[in-house]
Amino acid sequence: MLAVQVLVNALVLGCLYACIAIGFSLVWGVLNVINLIHGSFIVLGAYLAWGAYQWLGISPWYALVIAAPLFFAFGYLLQRLLLNRVISAPVLVTLTLTFGLDLILNNAMIYYFKADYRKLTLSPPTGSISLFDVVVPVDRLIATASALALTGLLYLLLRRSKVGRAIVAVRLDRDAAVLMGVDVKSIYAIAFGLGAALAGCAGVLMALIFPISTLTSSAYLGKAFVVCVLGGLGSVSGALAGGLLLALVEGIGSTLIGPAHATTLSFVLLIIFLVVRPQGLLGRKGFE
C-alpha cells in the first residue's frame, strides 16, 4: 500500500512540478535565456493569492484569472524594456541580468512581506479523499488538476494559435522564422510574458499547498532546473515527463533514504542527466 501512496503522491506532485517548470522551459527554449527570476515570480504569485484571499476575500481560483494577465504584462514589459537589450549577448550576461532582476524582486518582497512563512488556509477546509488507504488532500488534488489544465492550455496555445505556431517556429529555427516574416522581438516578449504568467499561476497554486516565503524562491527555481533538464527543453510533454520523474525519484528517495536527502538526490540526478543525456527524456538531440 505504501508503494501506491508513494506513486499517487508522486503523480500529484509531479504535475505541480511540471507547472513550476513549464514557463522556465518555455523561456529557455525560445529566448535561450536562463531566467533566474522565475522562482521569485512563483513566490510573488503565491503572495498575490494570499493577499487576495486574506485582504479581499477572493478565492484562489479567481486569483488565477487575475494573476495570469498581470504577470503576462509584467513579463512582457520586462522583456521589451530590459532583456531585449542584451538578448544576443553571451550566456553570462543574460544570466547575470536575470540574477540582478531576481535580487531586486526578492528584496522588494522581503521588504514588504518580511521573510517569515505565511500560510493560506482556506475556510472551511477542503478535507481529503481516501480510497483504499491512499489519502490525498482535496486542495492538493484541485491544485494538481489546475496545474494540468494550465499545462494543457499552453499546449493548445502552442499547437493551435497563430502566436503559438510563431513561438514554436522561433524556438526551432530563429533565422528561418525571421525569413518567414515572424517579428522575433515581439515573439520573445510574448514568450517571456507567457513564462511569467505561468510562473504566477503556478505560485497561486503553490499557495494552496505550501507555506509562502521568499526563502522558497530558490527551491522553486532549483525544481525548474531539474525538471527541464530531466524532461528535455522547451516542450510541454517534456516538462510533464520531467516533473513526474522528479517527483517519483524524490518520493522513492525520501521513503528509502529519508526526506533530508531528496534534494541532494534530485540535483545529483540533474548532473547525471546533463552529462549522460543532455537532451532529456523527450528532447531531441542537437537542440540547444
Partner: protein, 311 residues
Amino acid sequence: MTRVNLALLILIACVASLPLFGGAYALRVGTIACMYAVFALSWNIVGGFAGYPSFATAAFFGFGAYATGILLNKGVPLSVAVIGSLVMCFLLAAALGTVLLRLRGHYFAIASLSLVEVFREMVNNATDLTGGGMGLNIPLASGSGILADATFFFYAMWALLLIAAVVVMIVSASKLGFGLNCIRQNETASNMVGLNSTLYKSVAFGLSACFVGAAGGIYAAWVHYIDPSDVFDILHSVKPIVMALMGGLGSPLGVVCGAFVYLGLEEVVWRNYIQIHSGVLGLLIIMLLLFLPHGLISLRSGMFWRKAKHV
C-alpha cells in the same frame, strides 16, 4: 614581465600597506577585498580564459571553509589545514571538471550552479561531521588580541591573493593559458590542432577552485563560525562574475580592479541601504550590464589596458 602584470603587482603591494592607515574596520574591508580579488582572479581562469560560465565559486568556497573548519577542530594547525583544503579543492574540481566541462553554455552554467546546491545539501545532511544547519564553530586561532588577529588574517588573505595573482600571471603567459584562450575561441579547432582540451579545462577548473577553497579556509578561521547558507551562498558565485564583467573579462588586472570597485560599491550600499541592499545590488548589476557591457575598461580604451573580451 609585461606592464599590465607589473601594474597588478604594484596594486597588490599597495593593498599590503593598508594596516598602516586604519584600525579594525580597514583590516576587515582589506581582508574581504583580498578575498574578492582571489574570487575574481580564480573565476577568470575558467570564465575569462577558457570561456566557460562557471557558477561553482560558492561550491568550492564552502568546501574549503568546511574542510579547514573540520581539520582545525581536529587539532590540525591552520597552515596545514588551509594548504590541505587547497589541494583537496584542486583535485576535486579537476576530477569534476573532466565530467562537467563536457557541457557547454547554459548546460554548464546550470550544472555548476547545481554543484553549489549538491555541496550545500551534503554538508547540511552530514550532521556528525559538519554540524548540519546548526553551523560549525571553529576554535580561535591565536587569541593574542583582536587587532593582532585581524592583522594576521588580513596578511594571510593578502598572501593568498599574491600567490593567486602570480600563478595567474604564469598561467596566462604559458602554454596552458595560450591553450585555454584557444578553447574559448574555438574548441573544435583546438582539438583538431592536437590540444587535449579535456585536460586543459580540468586543470583550469582545478586552478579556479583551489585558491577559492583556500580563501574559504582562511575565512572560516577568521570568522570562527560558518554555516551552510553562509558559505554556500549563491551570491559568492555571482559576485566574481559581476567583478569580472566590471573590470573586463580576461584581464587579471581588470578583474582585480573590478573586485575592489565592487567591494567599494557594496560597502556604500550596505552602510546606506541596509534594508534594501540586495535590491540596490541587483540594480547596480543591471545598470552595469546595460550601460557598460565591456566593463569599466570601456570607459577609457587606453594603451595599457588589454581589450575586453567576450565569453
